[in-house]
Amino acid sequence: MANKTSSSEEKMGMSTKNKILSVFATAWFAVLSFIIVFPLFAGLLASFRPGTELIRKGLSIDLDVSTMTLNNYLYLFSGNADSQKYFMWFKNSLILTFISVVGTLLICYLVAYGLSMYEYPLKNFLFFLVIATMMVPFEILILPLYKEMISLKLIDTTAGVVLPGLCGASTIFFFRQYMTGLPKELLDAGRIDGATEYGICFKIMMPITKPAFAAMSILCAMGAWNNVLWPMLVYRSADKFTLPIGLNTLLTPYGNNYDVLIAGSMFGIIPVFVVFLCFQKYFIEGMTAGAVKG
């Protein structure tokens, strides 16, 4: 496990022992990646076969191309009742994701701005509270929040789904980390030029925080797109269901709708997948921000 090869070794090139190690290590990652991609691959293959086969046989790799059809996808795009339902979920998910991302980023940016750009007595205490919210798993709050949403008449509304998550502690934490590294002189320069505190926040600091916005927007979008538990509790009417909730309703023991379930599941991964491939760098940046400093 040569963690960092020494500079002398570097000049001489890799030794034979290292070459063998290298082949083994690379092969290990190939095997691991294969195992990890396998279930998704199996799902993709299954989406080209009738859903009834999933009920009768379960999911397994079957490479026989002759029995594959595009029927599930044709059905999914046919525009019939099932197809309309699926794309309604899809649309709901898109809208919910958009609202959560815009709301969360804006609010968390402002809060982090207040927690990093000024000096005032309550600052450290407030930041401590942000961290404290991380110490309670969200699952514990679902019952009281559910009750609260009923009394606030926010049950079955998008506001009820989005509001409790707007001030995400980890998002605030990331923005604050990023902004503490920015030059504070910009604020004074802005003040001298006659900008108000809010003008500075939106017109001077926001543009230079763009990389943090990029990293966080992707992470928030992925979280919102895949979120199930809380939306499942808040949304009651079927026409408001998001994609994960909707797909979950298809998972009945009778399996009368497994065609839509499997094809829809595979199609539902595509948006996140495309975003991941385009913005891979930001994904990793945003995700690992908290891990290094602890």
């Binding site: 040569a2 963690n3 960092k4 290292n18 190690l21 290298s22 290590a25 690379t26 691991l32 990646s33 990890i36 279930p39 998704l40 009768r56 046989k57 379960g58 999911l59 397994s60 402002l110 809060v111 701005y113 207040g114 000024y118 309550l122 600052k123 509270l129 798993p137 699952e139 514990i140 709050l141 679902i142 019952l143 009281p144 929040l145 559910y146 009750k147 609260e148 001030c167 003040r191 108000t196 505190e197 926040c201 992925m222 797109w225 199930v228 994960p244 797909l247 979950n248 998972l251 009945t252 599941s265 539902g268 991964i269 996140v272 991941f276 891979q280 990793i284 891990a291 290094v292 602890g294």
Partner: protein, 298 residues
């Protein structure tokens, strides 16, 4: 005019900026937390609410289903810690070394499961763990000569399925955490270790692991929380909160069943608070053992 001047002053502006957090903190954190504590001492019926003192907690002590849920969550958490810290760390060290070719591709492959919703991944695994001979896991075990299993009907294999889903989804994510931790280690340390003639194992033991400690503690902390409060994975594998003989029942699963399905908010709240107490105690003990609270180590 006066109000505007007040709001625009440099002294007040920061409070305006943090106001959304204060509101959200009070409304969606402090209030529900207090209300769940209060509810845990109540018997909440459809018509009336009655103050019952510690009765909910006393019931929990005798509730064998709850004990099953605690044991399940605990076993799951321990197994995920054992599998999701050392291995991703090893993979991170390998990826960070020069031994592995095509790193970017492997990193992406390992990360892909984290992109999928738990509904989709849960459905895929539920179908792969099918008890029919043709289910993928049974195809593999029969090829290995182990015969077929009724995976989701027996405790041991059910737990295995849950842990497998978890490892599948989080190995790549944890690996990325460790990679970013490794990136923050000063390479000069390795160079001077080379000059002193340190072996690769010594470098790992005396430089990499100690300096990776903040990352390890971070991953450990979030994994303890995630492990103890796991629910959706089990919900998806068994297509609902019920599983045969409660083999897939977790603490949050039981909270859901009592609190949401049976609408017993008092009892559900008590379950949630026991979970919170367990999670906090384990984490504080872990942080003390790791010396996080000692000033000189930071």
């Amino acid at each position: 005019m006066k109000i505007k001047k007040f709001l625009y002053s440099q002294k007040v502006a920061p409070y305006v900026f943090v106001l959304p957090f204060i509101l959200s903190f009070l409304l969606f954190w402090i209030y529900p937390l207090c209300s769940t504590v209060v509810m845990s001492f109540q018997d909440i019926g459809p018509a009336m609410t009655e103050w019952v003192g510690f009765k909910n907690y006393q019931k929990l002590l005798k509730d064998t289903t709850f004990h099953t849920a605690i044991i399940n969550s605990f076993q799951y958490m321990v197994l995920t810690l054992v599998l999701l810290i050392p291995f991703p760390m090893l993979y991170a060290v390998l990826i960070d070394s020069r031994l592995v070719k095509a790193k970017g591709f492997w990193k992406a492959c390992l990360y892909v499961p984290a992109l999928t919703s738990v509904v989709i991944s849960g459905t895929l695994f539920r179908l792969m763990f099918s008890e029919y001979q043709t289910g993928q896991l049974n195809v593999i075990t029969s090829a290995l000569g182990l015969g077929t299993f009724k995976w989701l009907k027996v405790k041991a294999t059910g737990l295995f399925a849950l842990v497998l889903v978890c490892c599948w989804r989080w190995t790549g994510v944890n690996m990325l955490y460790f990679i970013s931790g490794l990136k923050s280690i000063d390479t000069a340390l390795y160079e001077s270790a080379d000059i002193d003639g340190a072996s690769a194992t010594q470098k790992l033991r005396y430089i990499t692991i100690p300096l990776l400690k903040p990352t390890i503690i971070y991953v450990l902390t979030i994994s303890i929380y995630a492990g103890l409060s796991m629910f959706m994975e089990s919900y998806m594998l068994w297509a609902g909160p019920d599983s045969p003989n409660n083999i897939g029942l977790t603490i949050v699963g039981y909270l859901y069943k009592r609190g949401i399905t049976k609408n017993d908010l008092g009892y559900g709240s008590a379950i949630g608070l026991v979970l919170l107490a367990i999670a906090l105690v384990i984490n504080i003990v872990q942080l003390i053992l790791n010396g996080t609270f000692k000033k000189e180590e930071r």
